[in-house]
C-alpha cells in the first residue's frame, strides 16, 4: 500500500479523528491545506490556538464566553425569572437564533444515559439548583430533545424542580410551522395530536 509523505499522512490521520470526517474527506482537506497560501494556514493555526486559550465557560449558564459571563447572562435587558434548559451549546444557539426568547439559559452538558455512564452527577444539575436557590426564577423550560434520553432527563429534572415551587414546562412537540398537515410524517402528527392545546 502506498502512503503519503509522512507529515502529510500525519495530518490526514489527525483530521480523520474529527467528527464527521472520513478517510476521503481527510485526504481532500489535507491536500487543500497543503496548497493554501502560508498566511492562511497561519491564520487557521492561530484561530485554533485562540479557541483553546481565550474561550471559557460562562460561570452562570455554561455557554461559551470570552470573559466570566456570556453575552446572554451579561445582558441587563434579559428576563432573569426564566431559564431554558438545553443539553448542548448548539441548542442554545438554535433557540437564540429563533430570536424571540428573552430569558436565560442553562447548558446541562449532556443527557442522562446510564449506558454512556452519564448520571445526574455528570450533568450540571447541582449548578442549576444553586441558580434556583434565591427564589428569583419562576419558570424553568425543559428544552431537551424528544429522544428517550432527552425525555428521561426532562422527567428527572421536573421531579427535582417542582417541589421548589418553580413552574416547570416542557417545549411542545409537533408540526413544523408553515408545513402542511398532509406532508408531516405520521410520528410527528401523532405527537402533535397528543400534545394538542385547548383554544
Amino acid at each position: 500500500m502506498q502512503l503519503y509523505a509522512k507529515p502529510l499522512q500525519r495530518l490526514i490521520d489527525l483530521l480523520e479523528c474529527l467528527p464527521g470526517i472520513g478517510p476521503k474527506s481527510a485526504q481532500r482537506l489535507a491536500l487543500h491545506l497543503l496548497r493554501l497560501p502560508p498566511e492562511q494556514v497561519d491564520n487557521l493555526v492561530s484561530a485554533m490556538q485562540d479557541v483553546r486559550t481565550r474561550v471559557r465557560q460562562c460561570a452562570i449558564c455554561y455557554n461559551y464566553a470570552e470573559s466570566d459571563h456570556c453575552p446572554v447572562c451579561d445582558d441587563p435587558t434579559r428576563d432573569r425569572t426564566l431559564i431554558t434548559l438545553i443539553s448542548d451549546v448548539r441548542d442554545l444557539m438554535a433557540l437564540e437564533n429563533a430570536g424571540d426568547y428573552r430569558g436565560l439559559y442553562h447548558v446541562l452538558g449532556g443527557l442522562l444515559s446510564p449506558m454512556d455512564g452519564i448520571g445526574p452527577e455528570q450533568l450540571r444539575v447541582r449548578e442549576l439548583l444553586r441558580r434556583l436557590e434565591d427564589g428569583m426564577v419562576r419558570e424553568v423550560i425543559l428544552a431537551t430533545n424528544p429522544t428517550v434520553e432527552g425525555d428521561a432527563t426532562a422527567l428527572y429534572l421536573a421531579r427535582l424542580i417542582k417541589p421548589l415551587g418553580v413552574r416547570v414546562t416542557r417545549i411542545a412537540l409537533g408540526l413544523p410551522v408553515g408545513g402542511d398537515l398532509d406532508y408531516a410524517d405520521q410520528l410527528t402528527i401523532l405527537r402533535a395530536l397528543e400534545g394538542r392545546t385547548a383554544m
Binding site: 442522562l112 444515559s113 446510564p114 449506558m115 448520571g119 445526574p120 428517550v148 434520553e149 425525555d151 428521561a152 432527563t153 426532562a154 422527567l155 428527572y156 421531579r159 410524517d185 405520521q186 410520528l187 401523532l190
Partner: protein, 389 residues
C-alpha cells in the same frame, strides 16, 4: 397485491433475472441449493426492505459483485402499479471488505429514495417458512419477534414505540446494575420507570388487540387445514402484574406496568435486569383447550404453525382490504396430499401465491386455477410452463 415483475442483478446466485408474473399460483421447482429460496428472499426484500433470512445483508450480494439490486413491480387495487428497488452495496474499501458482512442499503419507490420506515405496510406479504415451527415450539422471544415483525411492518408508530421501549429497557438494565453495585440510588430509576410504562403501554395495547383479532382468524384457519371442527385460539400472556386485571387502553396498561414496576423494584436491582413489561410477555396457542406448545404432538405443532400464517394472511387481508402476497418456502411437504390441496384450493383463488418445491407432482396443485411452473437450476429459471388456464 400482486407482484408483476421481478428483476435481479448480482443477487445471491442470480447474475441477472427478469421475470414477469401475474395473478394465480407460481411454483418454483428444482433440486436443492439451486436458488429457489433466494427468489422468495428477493421478493420479501423488495416488499419489506430487509432479508427474512439474515441480518448480514452483504451475503445477498453475489460473491463476484459489489452491488446487488432487486426490483419488484407491484400492483394493487388501492395504489395501482409501483416499483420498489432495493440496492445493496458492500460497506468499506474493497481491500478491507469482508464478504458477507453488513451492506449499505438504498431503497427507492418509483425511483425516489425512501427509508426502510417508509416501506411499512406498502407491500403486504406473508412468508411461510419451515422454521415457523419454532414460533410454536421455541422460546418466548421467538413469539414476541413474530408479533413485533408483523406490527412493525404495518405500523410506523408501533415500530417507533418498540425502538424507544427497547432503548429504555437497555438504559434501565444498565442503571439497575449500577444501583446493585451501589453507584446510584433507587430514586434514579424514576424517569426510566415513567418511560417504561408509557412506551410499554403503547406496545401492549396494540399487541393485545392484534392477538385478539388473530385468534378470531385462527379458528377457521386451523379447521380448514385439518377438516376437523376444532379451531386454534391464541392468547396474549403476561406473567407479571395483577392477573385479574384486564386492561385494554394504553393508559390502563401503562398504569398496570407502573404498579408492577414498584413491587418488583428490589428483585430487579438484585438481578440487574428489567423483569416486567412487554419484553417479557408471550403468546399461547390452544387447540381443543390444550396448550399446543406443551401438550401438542409434533404434527399438531406443525399444523398450528401453518394455521398461524394462514390466520395472519386473513387478518392482514381484512385490515388492509387487499390480499397480501403469499410466499411459501417448501412448507407444504409437511402436510399430507389432501390437506395440501385444501390449503391451495383455499388460498390460490384469493391471493397471488409464490411457492417453492423440490417435487411439483407432490404439491397437489388445485385443478381449476392457472398454475405457472418455473424450473430453477443454478441461478437461472431455465424453463416455464402453464397448466390449467
Amino acid at each position: 397485491m400482486e407482484l408483476r415483475r421481478l428483476q435481479l442483478e448480482h443477487f445471491r446466485n442470480y447474475a441477472t433475472l427478469d421475470l414477469a408474473l401475474g395473478p394465480g399460483l407460481h411454483v418454483f421447482a428444482g433440486a436443492n441449493a439451486q436458488g429457489k429460496t433466494n427468489l422468495l428472499e428477493a421478493v420479501y426484500l423488495t416488499a419489506v426492505g430487509r432479508s427474512p433470512r439474515t441480518t448480514h445483508e452483504g451475503e445477498l450480494i453475489a460473491w463476484d459483485a459489489e452491488v446487488a439490486r432487486a426490483t419488484g413491480l407491484f400492483a394493487s387495487d388501492l395504489r395501482g402499479e409501483f416499483t420498489v428497488e432495493v440496492a445493496l452495496g458492500r460497506k468499506g474499501a474493497p481491500e478491507a471488505m469482508s464478504r458477507g458482512g453488513s451492506a449499505q442499503k438504498k431503497i427507492k419507490v418509483n425511483g425516489a429514495p425512501r427509508t426502510l420506515a417508509n416501506l411499512a405496510g406498502l407491500v403486504p406479504v406473508v412468508l411461510f417458512l419451515v422454521d415457523d415451527l419454532e414460533i410454536i415450539r421455541g422460546e418466548p422471544a421467538r413469539r414476541r419477534q413474530f408479533l413485533d415483525n408483523d406490527l412493525s411492518a404495518t405500523s410506523r408508530t408501533y415500530a417507533w414505540a418498540l425502538k424507544q421501549y427497547t432503548r429504555v429497557v437497555e438504559q434501565r438494565n444498565r442503571l439497575l446494575k449500577e444501583i446493585r453495585e451501589g453507584q446510584r440510588d433507587l430514586a434514579s430509576l424514576a424517569p426510566w420507570n415513567d418511560q417504561l410504562a408509557a412506551f410499554g403501554g403503547r406496545l401492549m395495547e396494540v399487541r393485545t388487540r392484534f392477538v385478539r383479532d388473530l385468534s378470531a382468524e385462527g379458528i377457521p384457519a386451523y379447521q380448514g387445514l385439518t377438516s376437523s371442527p376444532q379451531g386454534m385460539t391464541i392468547s396474549y400472556r403476561r406473567e407479571w402484574g395483577d392477573p385479574a386485571a384486564e386492561p385494554t387502553t394504553r393508559e390502563e396498561f401503562a398504569a398496570l406496568l407502573a404498579d408492577a414496576v414498584e413491587t418488583v423494584a428490589m428483585e430487579e436491582v438484585g438481578r440487574g435486569s428489567s423483569l416486567v413489561g412487554p419484553h417479557r410477555d408471550d403468546l399461547q396457542f390452544f387447540v381443543d383447550g390444550k396448550d399446543v406448545r406443551q401438550f401438542g404432538s409434533q404434527g399438531e405443532q406443525r399444523t398450528a404453525a401453518l394455521a398461524l400464517r394462514v390466520a395472519e394472511f386473513s387478518l392482514l387481508h381484512r385490515l388492509l382490504q387487499e390480499p397480501p402476497v403469499l410466499l411459501l418456502d417448501d412448507i407444504l411437504s409437511e402436510l399430507d396430499r389432501t390437506r395440501r390441496s385444501a390449503m391451495l384450493d383455499h388460498l390460490a383463488p384469493i391471493a397471488q401465491v409464490i411457492m417453492t418445491t423440490t417435487d411439483v407432482d407432490a404439491v397437489g396443485l388445485p385443478p381449476h386455477a392457472a398454475v405457472h411452473i418455473y424450473h430453477v437450476s443454478q441461478g437461472t429459471v431455465d424453463w416455464t410452463s402453464v397448466l390449467g388456464e
